[in-house]
């Protein structure tokens, strides 16, 4: 661990990347955010007038942003490898008693990678949504929300201060809330949206406290100062920071124990699932960990926690994915699992940061691809999501099938598809770190192969099981072209990212640092073992679902299946541990409030009233009684005066 010295951005001796103030094109980085933000404002405030053209405005805003991103990327390529980080200060946000926050952007290799992913995949999904949401009367609003999401996500990855990052962080949470609950008339959607937001807020607690801790430790929350000072900070504080940031990341990235919202979030329209809940937003947690590399590098305990969380989640997600009959939920389980991989990698430190980001990007490609494919299927199947009612769709939807298949091959890690490169690297890194973790990652790969094959078989192969009134058909071109684009990226993205130029590892190296560990066994052997496991997973799935007919009604299944269907009792645990006691607490507090706190006040008032009712009887109305009282009182006054005066 102590060999690490190459992170942190400020002017410290070991750091070799200098952040420069931006000039020229790069100083207009803010336009990246401004386009979609403006689009969102126009669409949401524009009213019904824009119903006809809204989707085009939204798509245009996103595409402009993408164009801008490409231009910036090109500009960045023009710089030398260790001079690609730029500060884009915008305005001073506030200065509260010495705690100064500047609204500013930091464009470096890491944020560039994200910007390209977000705007690129985002634009494709915008295009796709034009077709997918065609019949929705609130399409304009949908595009407004999507633009809002893109803007917030870009702010998240471009921010140069944790507090500004937090704005984007919450912004994507809001967009996610709005989009999950887009079909608000469905109570399940509204509930899922609220759940997502609230669970995210639990993570936000971590974020808020992390930033508060940074103020205590560093007096600032800007990346520059925090990373520069991390070396001098006590390890206990760094560990605390790491754990708090991990809590935040768990919320946003649906990692254990805050994973429960992601499956419910599938209530949202499918493009949303693809963009937010697969490709970009849910990976923000990984971004946060990688971005905070300077802290994690010096906080070994926190990193161990990250690895553990990642490992648990990757297995959990995979197991849940195996049992779900709802195609989107199966994919959501898979997303959880894949992000678990990324977390695991990020937790490995400099050895894994780059691979985490690598997998994040390839996952963005193929998972978005598959989600959109699933959306395409649903589009053609009257919004049916139950895979037991699919089957044999490859004939009806050839394009969807082919693109989905490419995504499938990518995710299970068949060379030379994208997932193979990225996931394999993570497994390697995991083995290099700890054999147990490595084994878990390997098993995860096997399960991934199993459940993805299951999805593939149940949806596109096997016999048809759909209902009478459903007439599956291929989706319009506006939807298939994005699919094709993403499929192409799934096919070549991995190899391209790894090998073109210096590859992503070298690209990110100034930000994340680099480190190699020796594997306990030769790389080739590990690759071979991984492939064997994957093939085994595929084979098992074939035996269970390909060879024999899939029942339309779900069989009872073994206990593990039942547990997985119920999200491994995540919700049940939440309900038992948080919701029920919470409701009980709330109800009893209302009781306490009315009877206890308010009761005490009212009781006091009643007691006073009662006492006066009793004392009122002294008021006989007989003037002689009053006179007696007065005389006695006067006598007492004299006595009192005497007592005071005379010693």
């Amino acid at each position: 661990m102590n060999s690490i010295m190459t992170h942190g951005l400020a002017a410290q001796a070991e750091v070799h990347q200098v952040v420069r103030d931006a000039s020229g094109l790069i100083s207009s980085t803010w336009l990246l955010i401004a386009f979609p933000l403006l689009g969102a404002a126009v669409l949401l405030l524009g009213g019904r007038r824009l119903d006809k053209t809204g989707h085009l405005i939204g798509t245009a805003a996103s595409c402009l942003s993408f164009v801008m991103a490409v231009a910036l990327f090109v500009a960045m390529l023009g710089e030398s490898g260790d001079a690609r980080a730029f500060n884009v200060p915008l305005w001073e946000w506030f200065n509260a008693a010495g705690y100064q926050v500047e609204v500013g952007l930091l464009l470096d290799q890491l944020s560039m990678a994200f910007v390209l992913l977000i705007t690129g995949v985002g634009s494709l999904i915008h295009v796709y949504s034009i077709g997918y949401m065609e019949h929705d009367e609130r399409r304009r609003r949908f595009f407004g929300y999507l633009n809002l999401f893109v803007a917030a996500m870009l702010l998240l990855v471009l921010a140069s201060d944790y507090l500004i990052l937090f704005i984007g962080w919450e912004g994507v949470g809001l967009a996610s809330y709005l989009l999950i609950g887009f079909w608000q008339h469905k109570p399940s959607a509204a509930v899922a949206a609220k759940k997502a937001f609230v669970v995210n807020r639990v993570g936000d607690m971590g974020m808020v406290l992390a930033i508060a801790s940074m103020i205590v430790v560093f007096g600032s929350s800007s990346f520059e100062l925090v990373f520069a000072g991390a070396g001098d900070a006590p390890t206990s504080w760094l560990n605390a920071l790491g754990l708090l940031l991990l809590l935040a990341a768990c919320g946003k990235s649906a990692q254990f124990p805050l994973q429960s919202w992601l499956l419910d979030a599938m209530e949202g329209p499918t493009p949303v699932s693809a963009l937010i809940h697969a490709a970009t937003m849910v990976t923000a947690g990984v971004y946060l960990v990688v971005r905070s590399a300077a802290i994690y590098d010096l906080a070994p305990e926190a990193r161990t926690a990250v690895v553990l969380v990642g490992t648990i989640t990757l297995l959990m997600g995979a197991i849940i994915g195996c049992a779900k009959d709802d195609i989107k939920k199966a994919l959501a389980g898979s997303t959880m699992s894949q992000i678990g991989y990324m977390m695991l990698a990020a937790g490995l430190g400099p050895a894994g940061y780059a691979f985490a980001i690598f997998h994040l990007i390839t996952h963005g490609f193929f998972k978005a691809n598959m989600f959109l494919g699933a959306g395409s299927v649903m589009h053609g199947m009257n919004d049916e999501v139950n895979m037991r009612r699919f089957g044999g769709l490859r004939a009806a939807m050839p394009v969807t099938f082919l693109t989905f298949a490419l995504g499938y091959l990518a995710i299970i890690g068949i060379p030379p598809f994208a997932g193979y490169f990225s996931k394999d690297k993570i497994i390697e890194a995991a083995f290099a770190d700890n054999i147990l973790i490595g084994l878990c990652a390997l098993i995860g790969a096997g399960i991934t192969a199993f459940y993805m094959t299951r999805v593939m078989l149940m949806t596109f192969l096997t016999s048809k099981r759909w209902a009478e009134d459903v007439h599956p058909h291929e989706s319009p071109r506006v939807m298939t072209w994005p699919l094709i684009g993403l499929a192409a990226l799934s096919l070549v993205g991995g190899a391209a990212l790894l090998y073109v130029g210096g590859g992503i590892v070298e690209w990110l190296e100034p930000v994340t640092g680099e480190e190699h560990h020796d594997l306990p066994l030769p790389v080739a052997a590990l690759i071979a073992i991984t492939l064997v496991v994957v093939v085994a997973g595929v084979a098992v799935a074939w035996l269970l679902y390909g060879r024999r007919p899939v029942p339309v009604e779900a069989p009872a299944g073994n206990p593990l299946t039942v547990a997985a269907r119920r999200d491994l009792y995540g919700d049940a645990v939440n309900e038992a541990v948080l919701m029920r006691p919470g409701q009980y607490l709330t109800r009893s507090l209302v009781y306490v409030e009315n009877r206890g706190v308010d009761g005490a006040v009212i009781g006091a008032a009643k007691a006073v009233g009662g006492l006066s009712a009793r004392w009122r009887r002294w008021q006989t109305g007989f003037v002689r009684s009053y006179a007696l009282t007065m005389l006695t009182g006067a006598g007492l006054v004299v006595v009192a005066m005497l007592l005071v005066r005379l010693p």
Partner: protein, 513 residues
């Protein structure tokens, strides 16, 4: 001749109140126009006053001092500092908005609406005086006098239980005021003993009061402020008042009028009794944290929308008090900012709930559902107000809540951690309310509900604009507040430790600014 700007600022709404009351009966519209015109005039004067406020100059500016009762050392002493300027701005902005929102509510009442508007302006004048008073007795007098118009505003207009609520409000606050009066006199005695009988804040702050005495006086002041603010367990009047008063009145009450309590804490209780404040701070911090969580949990358990918002206010007041008694400059700055932002967002929430009530004539959550479809604008502004209530960045409320938590974290780690539970609960109560009222299947009888009208949009727009503006560009506001908070906290000998790691010269620059 110098213009007595601050007296002018107080005189404008006071005159407006008189003129509104003089409008002949039956000419309700004229009364409203007069009231709104005068509230706008006050706003203009407030802007002029704040424009003259100079950062980094004297602590109190535009000072006016006129002997009132010379023999007792009572003065008509006014002055504005950063804290006062911020709260004056809030009051001046809020009053015309509330008056606009009251417009239709007053019509729904059977009574002549003019009294309502006249009382509103009277309260505004008193609140201005409270924020400007640099004489403790003057502050006390307006602090108490405020109760009377508010009592009538609650008791004359509103729900079926309004009399009960008004009486409860009055008794609670009178009780606190009585204890405070004793403390005010005790404080005066201290000043007499010191040989300079004076109620002037500056004279009193300069006193060197023994800690024993400080304790009692501090508790006397704090009780009044804690009831007014309100802090658990002195809060139970607020939900009743919030539920029974008309929505705009409830907005004004918890959004603006109650800020006098928290203002009193930071501008009087802390600087007057620094040693006692430091001593009692842990206790008050605990109460504040209880307020935060307790208010939020009770808000979750409510079935009446206005009550619910009342409880959210208790939770938010908990944050404000927490920030003040963390006794860090950041926390106190955050608290003062919180006062403004809470004012804006609570007014927005109450006013919008008022719109909903005016449509369906019910305060109960259960009588709403699925309104998003028929009234998208209403749902939109409601969600916006709700999000500002749950402190979503970059809305203005976020920054204040964050600064409070960060400021508290410097001194009281555990309290800050528990307080953050409040932000989760805030999401729960706001979004659950939104879910139950706006989303889900449309209720059968909701079809004909109309969406926001022009006047309603005019009421909400400035609030939304301000929440956004302060959210994105809080620097000026924070600087102004910091200008007042800094010297105030300097009275207390509690200082936050410097950062563990002093990073670079850049940070030093930041500190110097």
């Amino acid at each position: 001749m110098t213009i007595p700007w601050l007296t002018l600022l107080i005189a404008a709404p006071a005159l407006g109140a008189v003129l509104t009351a003089l409008v002949p009966a039956g000419r309700g519209t004229l009364a409203k126009q007069v009231a709104i015109a005068f509230s706008l005039l006050s706003l203009a004067i407030a802007i002029a006053v704040i424009a003259q406020f100079e950062l980094g100059a004297d602590r109190y500016q535009l000072v006016e001092q006129q002997a009132w009762i010379d023999a007792l050392g009572i003065y008509w002493a006014l002055g504005i500092d950063g804290i006062g300027a911020a709260l004056i701005a809030l009051t001046a902005v809020a009053t015309p908005i509330v008056a606009m929102a009251m417009w239709p509510e007053a019509e729904a009442e059977k009574r002549d609406p003019k009294a309502f508007f006249a009382l509103l302006l009277a309260v505004e004048a008193l609140i201005f005086t409270a924020f400007l008073a640099k004489d403790v007795l003057l502050f006390y007098i307006v602090f108490e006098a405020m109760l009377i118009p508010l009592y009538f505003m609650i008791g004359m207009y509103g729900g079926p239980q309004r009399r009960y609520a008004a009486l409860k409000f009055l008794l609670y606050n009178l009780f606190g005021g009585l204890v405070m009066l004793a403390a005010v006199i005790g404080l005066y005695v201290q000043s007499v003993d010191a040989g300079n009988a004076s109620f002037l804040l500056t004279d009193l702050v300069a006193l060197d009061i023994p800690v024993e005495t400080q304790r009692w006086l501090f508790l006397g002041f704090m009780l009044a402020f804690a009831i007014k603010a309100p802090l658990w367990p002195f809060h139970t009047w607020l939900p009743d008042a919030a539920a029974e008063a008309t929505p705009s009145n409830a907005a004004f009450l918890s959004g603006v009028a109650d800020k006098v309590g928290t203002f009193g804490m930071i501008a009087l209780a802390v600087p007057l009794f620094p040693a006692a404040a430091a001593e009692f701070a842990p206790v008050i911090v605990v109460l504040a944290v209880i307020s935060i969580v307790y208010g939020a949990l009770l808000a979750i358990g409510q079935t009446d929308m206005k009550r619910l918002i009342g409880y959210t206010s208790i939770s938010h007041f908990g944050f404000i008090v927490l920030g003040i008694f963390a006794l860090t400059e950041r926390g106190a700055t955050g608290s003062t900012l919180y006062m403004i932002n809470h004012g804006l967002s609570t007014i927005a929430l109450f006013v919008i709930v008022g719109f909903m009530i005016s449509r369906r004539r019910s305060r109960l959550v259960a009588d709403y559902g699925g309104m998003q479809k028929t009234t998208p604008k209403l749902a939109g502004v409601f969600l916006f107000a709700g999000l500002s209530g749950l402190a979503l960045p970059p809305l203005s409320t976020f920054l204040s809540e964050f600064l409070v938590i960060a400021g508290t974290f410097e001194q009281y780690r555990a309290a800050a951690v528990i307080a953050t539970v409040g932000i989760v609960l805030a999401a729960l109560y706001i979004l659950w309310l939104y879910q139950r009222t706006m989303t889900g299947p449309e209720r059968a009888d909701i079809g004909a509900t109309r969406d926001l009208g022009r006047r309603e949009i005019a009421v909400v727009t400035p609030l939304i604009a301000l929440i956004l503006a302060i959210g994105f560009f809080p620097r000026t506001v924070v600087d102004v507040i910091d200008d007042g908070v800094g010297p105030t906290l300097a009275e207390v000998d509690v200082e936050a430790p410097p950062p563990l790691v002093s990073v670079t010269d850049h940070a030093a620059e930041g500190n110097d600014e």
